[in-house]
């Protein structure tokens, strides 16, 4: 199947702003699925609320557009009740880690087999440019007009500490990494997290004088580096990209199946 066969064409053009990075994430996600040769009927996409969450409307899978922050909780019910389905959960940074932070760490802790994609543009776009828990200090937003004093989470470190068994990070500049990491994340048996830095030229870019979409993309190239590169040793401020963790741990649904086997024996 071609990538086009995975989308609901009648809803295009999409509602994202010109220059938004979310379309690049969608592209990378669909290419990953195409490469895996998955059937559309075996994929459930669950999203929360926000710009990122609208991705569910555009893909021709079983799609569940839920409530702000709760996508992983809904997804847990879908997955545990039908473990043979592939569950993919794209979320924004506020969705995943502010209002949804508790669900995020507990889904990771259970190591339930699903793929969480954090589309991190460091801002609340749909509500008009407020700071998020991934904005970081110094960022200008409509609710931090004098500069943000809230520390940010490191999604990679948080995911690892919470119990995720596959953790990766890339950016919308590195499009091939997006589809490569998502493909590996879907194949991974356990809770997988892929953080993708994605530009919001409308709010983040404008408020923080980062220029237009192309300037923001170029910046992703400049401020990131592959894991363990020499550049990182010279400049510790660089953000690392790559697969940080990939390990085998007991998966929740498989473990529960063992419980059923035990209970049914009586």
């Amino acid at each position: 199947m071609a990538v086009k066969d995975y989308i609901r064409e009648r809803f295009f053009p999409h509602l994202w702003c010109p220059g938004c990075g979310h379309g690049i994430v969608l592209n990378g996600l669909l290419r990953a699925i195409e490469k895996l040769g998955l059937s559309k009927n075996e994929i459930v996409m669950v999203t929360g609320i926000g710009c990122s969450a609208r991705i569910a409307g555009y893909v021709d899978f079983h799609t569940l557009h839920t409530i702000h922050g709760r996508a992983l909780a809904f997804a847990t019910g879908v997955k545990l009740s039908r473990p043979e389905l592939k569950v993919i959960v794209p979320m924004g940074d506020g969705d995943a880690l502010a209002i949804g932070g508790n669900h995020f760490i507990h889904a990771a802790r259970r190591n339930i087999d699903m793929t969480a994609i954090v589309m991190n543009n460091r801002i609340y776009g749909m509500t008009g440019g407020q700071f998020s828990p991934l904005s970081g200090c110094g960022v200008i937003a409509t609710t931090s007009p004098y500069a943000n004093i809230d520390n940010d989470f490191d999604v990679v470190e948080l995911s690892k500490a919470a119990g995720a068994t596959f953790v990766a990070r890339t950016t919308t500049y590195h499009v091939k990494e997006i589809s490569d990491f998502i493909r590996k994340a879907i194949l991974h048996e356990g809770f997988s997290v892929v953080e993708i830095l994605t530009q919001c030229p409308t709010y983040f870019g404008r408020k923080n004088k980062e220029g237009e979409a192309a300037d923001m993309l170029r910046r992703y190239k400049e401020i990131t580096t592959p894991i363990g590169s020499d550049a990182k040793k010279e400049n510790p401020d660089l953000i690392e990209r790559g697969i940080f963790l990939q390990k085998e741990n007991p998966e929740y649904c498989s473990e529960y199946n063992a419980i059923i086997q035990q209970a049914m024996k009586g």
Binding site: L64, H65, F74, S81, L85, I260
Partner: protein, 382 residues
């Protein structure tokens, strides 16, 4: 055939009745006085191949069962007041997206942490209006274990029939009480199974287009029909819409599908109403004391009757009006500040003849409490 008689706790009755009804997925979070439901199901569900999961909070619990309902399972969660407050967000989602599910609220005293190990009926109006926006809702209750079993099964049946969340509004007293239950035989209580679409693969399926009888056939996630589910106003395919006619049509559908069928949904019991000049109206634990008063007073020749409500919402106004028409006075017996009282006053022809007999200190309302109030109403003094 010999009867299967158990001496059993109310919360366990609810859990066993849910299994009888076909429950095979439960998600919940521990909270007094409902925890025994979760404990019982954690043990029982895997024995029948079902799934139990303890979530990180009540918000996640309701979200998880909604997800599991969409894959074709009969689902339930149970909680008490503070957890029920947290569930209001996802309850609205289940109403909007028309997801069959059962939510048990074993009521304790509130607001806030309140009085966790004592009884109350203070969540009656929260069940009706706890989540935001216009909507209708089904809330059921029971005063004894035999009824509790039947009403739990009924909750699942209504959830499947109307594609709606159903609230089972129990209370600490019935939930923690032990009494006799005659376990119904398999097939004794009819079950409503999920209505699935007969639309074939490749043919356009409309998850949100009601049939002529108002029912909406479903298709399981993972099946051959891929559609969208959202908490936004949506069209017949489930895709977001802000088109005024679509918005208007959807909200009318969500309200009318229940409010137009009150006659079918309303369940109640009546005792000595035929010639009653004092009608007691009660439900849940309070109805036990109310019934005791009616039986005792009848022995003395006093014309008392009881209308026990088993369906609280949607409120059966017509039935209440009719049953109270001949009464000199109507006394609503409940363990709150008069939450059902207001609905009864609105329903009857003469609201000034409606009085409240209540108790709000966490202690079970006794027949003496009710009798004292009756004497005051009748001008006899206590």
């Amino acid at each position: 055939m010999s009867q299967n008689i158990k001496f059993i706790q109310g919360n366990e009755v609810c859990a066993e009745a849910a299994i009888y009804a076909g429950l095979d997925f439960y998600a919940g979070y521990p909270i007094t006085p409902s925890s025994e439901i979760a404990e019982h199901l954690a043990y029982r569900l895997p024995q029948i191949g079902g799934k139990f999961i303890q979530m990180e909070d009540e918000i996640a619990s309701l979200c998880a069962i909604i997800g599991a309902s969409l894959t074709g399972h009969k689902v339930m969660t149970a909680t008490s007041g503070p957890g029920f407050s947290l569930m209001q967000e996802a309850l609205g989602y289940a109403i909007m997206a028309e997801i069959p599910c059962v939510i048990v609220d074993v009521q304790r005293g509130g607001p806030s942490t309140g009085i966790p190990t004592h009884g109350s009926q203070g969540d009656v109006n929260q069940a009706r209006w706890g989540t935001h926006g216009d909507h209708s809702i089904v809330a059921l209750t029971a005063s004894n274990h035999q009824d509790l079993f039947e009403m739990t099964v009924y909750a699942f049946n209504l959830a499947e029939t109307y594609r709606t969340p159903v609230i089972l509004l129990l209370d600490e007293l019935v939930g923690h009480m032990r009494e006799r239950l005659i376990m119904p035989e398999k097939g004794e209580i009819p079950l409503v199974e999920r209505l699935r679409t007969s639309v074939r693969e490749g043919v356009d399926y409309h998850p949100y287009l009601p049939r002529e009888d108002g029912r909406l056939p479903m298709s399981d996630f993972g099946g051959v029909h891929r559609y969208n589910v959202t908490g936004l106003y949506h069209d017949m395919w489930g895709f977001p819409s802000s088109e005024p006619r679509t918005v208007h049509g959807l909200i009318r559908h969500l309200v009318d599908k229940l409010e137009n069928r009150i006659g079918e949904i309303a369940k109640f019991r009546e005792y000595h109403l035929e010639d009653a000049d004092v009608v007691l109206i009660s439900y849940g634990c309070s109805a036990r004391s109310a019934l005791h008063v009616v039986k005792n007073r009848r022995l003395r020749g006093e014309r008392l009757g009881l209308l026990e409500l088993q369906t609280l919402w949607p409120f059966a106004s017509e039935i209440v009006r009719e049953k109270c028409a001949g009464a000199r006075s109507v006394v609503v017996v409940e363990m709150n500040m008069g939450q059902m009282l207001q609905a009864v006053k609105t329903a009857v022809d003469e609201p000034e003849k409606v009085f409240l007999a209540n108790r709000i200190d966490g202690v079970f309302i006794t027949p003496t409490d009710i009798s004292n109030i009756l004497r005051l109403i009748q001008g006899k003094g206590v």
